[in-house]
Amino acid sequence: MWRGNAWPATLLITGMVGYGLFVSLSMTTWEDYSRLFRDPVFLESIGISLYVAVSSTVLSVLIGAWLAGFFAKQTGWTAQVLAIPLFLPHLGAAYLAILYLSDLPVISPHEVNQFSIILTYLYKEIPFIFFYLLPVYRRLDHRYEELGLMLGLSRLKRFWHGKGVFLLFPVLEAAFIVFAFTLFAYEVPALLGVTYPKLIGVYTFDLYTQGDLSRQPEAFAISVLLTGILFLLLVIFTRTIRPLTERISKGRVE
């Protein structure tokens, strides 16, 4: 039995995720969901959260991927400097934002544009993307691009067939992880965000923990709704891209 066993982890994680979802579901009625869609506070919160999550994700993926591509060709320890933010918990990174950005215009915490939140995420997520993609870049076989060159492909096609297809899945996957995290995180927006509109993680958590219990079903409804949407996105994402990744992993030359 040296091949390991995935059952304990699968049962543990699926059990907790599934049961958490099931309990939330059982605490809500149709009425709760239809009320959500009519609640302007909730909708505004979703809007602002999407803005933060999409900008953080796009920026950190672009910068992180560029850095990974750059450092993949280098040897030595310089890239290791980027590991330092990995040692600092998000909570600590939020403090850095309070410390440095508080007296500045535009990007200071508690501004409606949420720039301080995005900057904090960039500080943490660029290194994450970087170390996620670095091994992927290092594994790329440059001969595919050389071949494209000799076959007379255009620059764009060379990039796509030589690198793009091999990077596509890891990049999208890392982006998905960062997106889901920045969309729902509590700590950073709770410290740096404005009191209205709150980001969705903060909004929902406050609904659940503070004030009267009558608003708890709403929190459960948000939980079920957003989990459902993300799960759906995940299924669509995997379904569309799986055939491609399988072909690549089986057909690429090691």
Binding site: V81, L82, I84
Partner: protein
């Protein structure tokens, strides 16, 4: 240039006066023991699971892989609302073990990924080779697999530590304020007025991962040294 961008913000953390917040310090026992148990669980489960994902083929294991990564893509905090009610029913709410279990959600998927990658990099042939060389599972881990996976072990511990330290909302909810981890003290300080107290908390947040990282580095280095010495000794005695 990039190095500066990354490093300079941390310089501001160097304190001008040393302070000592006893309330922060008191949470350290719980914090460190939580991290210790959580890390250990992550290693144990991550190791066997990562191996399975790397070396087993078939549709089933691919579905399992997907299920295991769910917490990376889903709102764990929102899911914990439902879990909290269940934990109350099971008597796990406001308990160390209840928090421990929930903290597995944001950490274990990463751990498993890192172990999977490490095993894939090691390769199936190398694993088979090691099985042939050393049939005893414990010895195989101590002498071969363990030392070869040093960097994965280190990254896992670091990541688990940092994620666990950051969880304010999750620990507040499930721990009910009874399970006091450092985030629970640090968080209110940040929204308060005392920059000095906040800075001290941040230093703890940064120092703990570094400390744990370097303690582990020394332990792992020691492990490899012992293995080398044992193997050299065996070789010498066989020659005589």
């Amino acid at each position: 240039m990039i190095g500066l961008l990354v490093l300079v913000p941390l310089l501001g953390l160097i304190p001008s006066t040393w302070t000592w917040n006893p309330r922060l310090f008191e949470t350290l026992t719980t914090t460190v023991s939580m991290i210790a148990v959580l890390t250990l669980l992550n290693h144990l489960i991550g190791y066997v699971t990562g191996k399975a994902i790397a070396f087993r083929a078939g549709r089933l294991i691919r579905y399992m892989e997907l299920l295991i990564s769910l917490p990376l893509f889903l709102p764990v905090l929102l899911l914990s609302f439902g879990l909290y009610l269940t934990w109350i029913r099971l008597g796990l709410a406001d308990q160390f073990i209840g928090v421990l279990l929930v903290l597995l959600l944001p950490t274990l998927p990463y751990t498993i990924r890192m172990y999977t990658n490490a095993f894939q990099a090691l390769g199936e042939q190398m694993m088979e080779q090691m099985v042939l060389i050393e049939p005893s599972r414990l010895k195989r881990f101590l002498f071969l697999t363990g030392p070869m996976m040093r960097s994965a072990i280190q990254s896992v511990t670091l990541l688990v530590t940092v994620i666990a330290l950051s969880q304010y909302a999750l620990v507040t909810l499930i721990g009910g304020g009874v399970v006091q981890m450092i985030a629970l003290e640090a968080f209110p300080l940040y929204s308060g007025n005392s920059l000095v107290a906040a800075k001290e908390a941040t230093i703890w947040l940064l120092v703990l991962p570094f400390l744990i990282y370097f303690v582990q580095l020394i332990l792992l280095e020691g492990w490899v040294q012992v293995v080398r010495r044992l193997l050299d000794g065996r070789y010498d005695s066989a020659r005589q």
